[in-house]
Subunit: 376 residues, 2 copies
DNA sequence: CTGAAAGCGCTTACAG
DNA sequence: CTGAAAGCGCTTACAG
């Protein structure tokens, strides 16, 4: 038998389609016995309301479009999970499209979503011009996560990248590090620029001279972190810490250090940004700035739902939080200052401005076991 | 102005809606000048065909439902990316729903997808009973990835878990390992059972006695890998290698070893399964069994498209591949056999049946630098 | 090649 | 509380 329609149900229940419709939408009271008859008929026939027909008739698609950049990104993945959670229990579902950070691809993804059309739009990052998003926002409730849109400031869920990055750098500076290599994100990313800015501001506040040769640009993916460290070594750069603009590049940097036989954090400290779920399980567990990505996804969904329900936009404040784990340690000099009697042997990198050439030597040498307690 | 409809376009172009419709669907020839007039009018009005109305009229939603388990899973993420890629260029888009490996949640996700209704269904893993999937498959083309469904064997895209796991174990056995700890997946997962089976079969072929106290069950997530290693140590188990049923648990195990100051692979070898994209960047890079997840996603999408287009189901064969990286090494005994003059000092774990108690000692001791070449 | 018309499966004023 | 009817924006035989 073909899929049963509302008409089949109404007929089986001995009521009009209007009445049958009302029991499913709940828009008006229906007498008890008729209600029951409809439910029974629906059950018996295995009736499922056709969402498409319903959308066309009601003018609402019950779909929230989500423009993401990469469906498999560990960073956006958490946001998507949050969105799913935030939509749970509502009658809306999410439909995803990926833009891969390419303006044209984002445009066509957006085009596809609007053509459905969706009842609301959540935009995660990307390079779509502000004007285009403002134009969409005029048609449909829109929330942006991880980017800001001029004129739509209160519909943008963001963290303070400058402050977050500043705090990462401060952590390193307080541990005594002065020569800090920085692996930046692509300068076309606003996040990347802001994080670089936070780093530089901290340096300035600590009266540490900025050293352009300690800054390398990556693309937010692992291999670029590895390359960055390699190029740093190739140019003979000296540093006691590496700060990466995101965790994925920090992973790559970690591998670059490992390849040279450099220990983290004994020889060189490492910090990331994002706190991906796997960052608590790297070797050593990565010190990084946590972004509340899941929470932002939930909030984005709730904000859309609120707007759709005619409620005012909920306000939320998203704080970053430094997760001090085991990839950062005081410089040797700082350790000595703190406990002059510390008997542990100083590694070749223990003076705060290590020579990578000596750190490279593959002579067996003492390995510090992790001392997490020391740094808390 | 409200969103323009086909009727607006037809009117502006001076043709009937039928004709206007034909230029957009391409279902019939339209005279050149009328075609142009319609295109121009559409352009001018900023017309976008309404996908919902189109679906209702044509009886095709142009939506492929994807039942996944966790939208943020690094494993399924790759499959989703493949599906997106495979659908690219077609007029279909994917709509995702997550089941979180819970039968009822999967049912409601499936219910939501079928109620839209979708034109095709791709199912990733999960615990939905075979009969339910068979029932869906009767209504709509269905492809399953990473699980098998009785009666739908040729619509299931799978790898040979038994063989893959066998090959991982063989790799370890050939390196001389005999006491291999195994971190299994949950026994309710078919994949988990098959991988355990492959492991045990290899042991049997090598005449290594199976040792139940070396097997711990996890849940495929990182923390369970950490717990597994801890419980192994707690019970005083002796082993020179750890094999995990997936990469995420291998990451957790890696951390457990690190916490005890145990070196990988010098003291203990470690192997995973899946080859997640970050596994090439762990410390050390993880030896693991690659699953062609992205390719399976592409193939699933293509199979659906083919079926929808009336073409026969394409056949594909998915091979796993052992990625030998740097987390596995020969046992000390095996190294000596291979090059009796190897001058490197033997670690406390070098005899193939190490004592974790001694490996635990936090005395500084020589650290082997990585020797990737040695194992190729 | 083209238009008028029916119809996709619902919802929702409108009139009782 | 309930039914008949119009309509959502398209597609697609059907007849020219």
């Amino acid at each position: 038998m073909a899929t049963p329609t509302l008409e089949d149900v109404a007929q089986a229940a001995g009521v009009s389609v209007s009445t049958a419709s009302r029991v499913f939408t709940g828009t008006a009271k229906v007498r008890g016995d008729k209600h029951a008859a409809v439910m029974r008929a629906a059950e018996q026939l295995g009736y499922r309301p056709n969402a498409i027909a319903r959308s066309l008739a009601s003018g609402r698609s019950l779909l929230i479009g989500v423009l993401t950049q990469d469906i498999s990104s560990p960073f956006y993945g958490e946001v998507l999970r949050g969105i799913e959670q935030g939509l749970e229990g509502s009658s809306y579902s999410a439909i995803f499209a990926s833009g891969h950070w390419r303006v044209e691809e984002e445009a066509s993804a957006l085009h596809g979503l609007m053509g459905r059309p969706v009842d609301g739009l959540i935009v995660l990052g990307g390079h779509t011009p502000d004007e285009r998003l403002a134009a969409m926002a005029a048609k449909v409730p829109l929330i942006a996560v991880g980017r800001s849109v001029r004129g739509l400031e209160d519909q943008c869920l963001r963290i303070d990248n400058v402050q977050g990055s500043y705090d990462c750098a401060r952590h390193l500076l307080e541990l005594g590090h002065r020569r800090i290599a920085y692996i930046a994100g692509p300068e076309s990313h606003r996040d990347a620029c802001e994080r670089l800015q936070g780093f530089q501001r901290a340096l300035a506040d600590w009266k540490v001279e900025a050293n352009p040769s300690l800054i390398v640009e990556g693309d937010f993916l692992e291999p670029s972190g590895l390359l960055a460290v390699e190029s740093l070594f190739a140019r003979g750069a000296l540093f006691s810490a590496v700060m990466a603009a995101n965790d994925q590049m920090a992973y790559g940097a970690r591998l670059g250090l490992y390849r040279r036989g450099i220990r983290v954090p004994e020889d060189i400290s490492l910090v990331g940004f994002d706190d991906l779920s796997s960052s608590a399980f790297t070797t050593p567990p990565l010190t990084t700035m946590r972004q509340p990505t899941y929470e932002m996804g939930v909030a984005a969904a709730e904000a859309i739902l609120a707007t759709l329900g005619g409620a005012p936009l909920p306000t939320a404040d998203f704080r970053v939080q430094l997760m001090v784990r085991e990839s950062t340690a005081p410089t040797h000099r700082e350790r000595q200052r703190l406990s002059p009697l510390d008997p542990r042997p100083a590694g070749p990198a223990g003076n705060g401005t290590p020579s990578p050439a000596s750190a490279q030597a593959s002579e067996p040498r003492p390995q510090d076991p992790p001392f997490p307690g020391e740094r808390l």
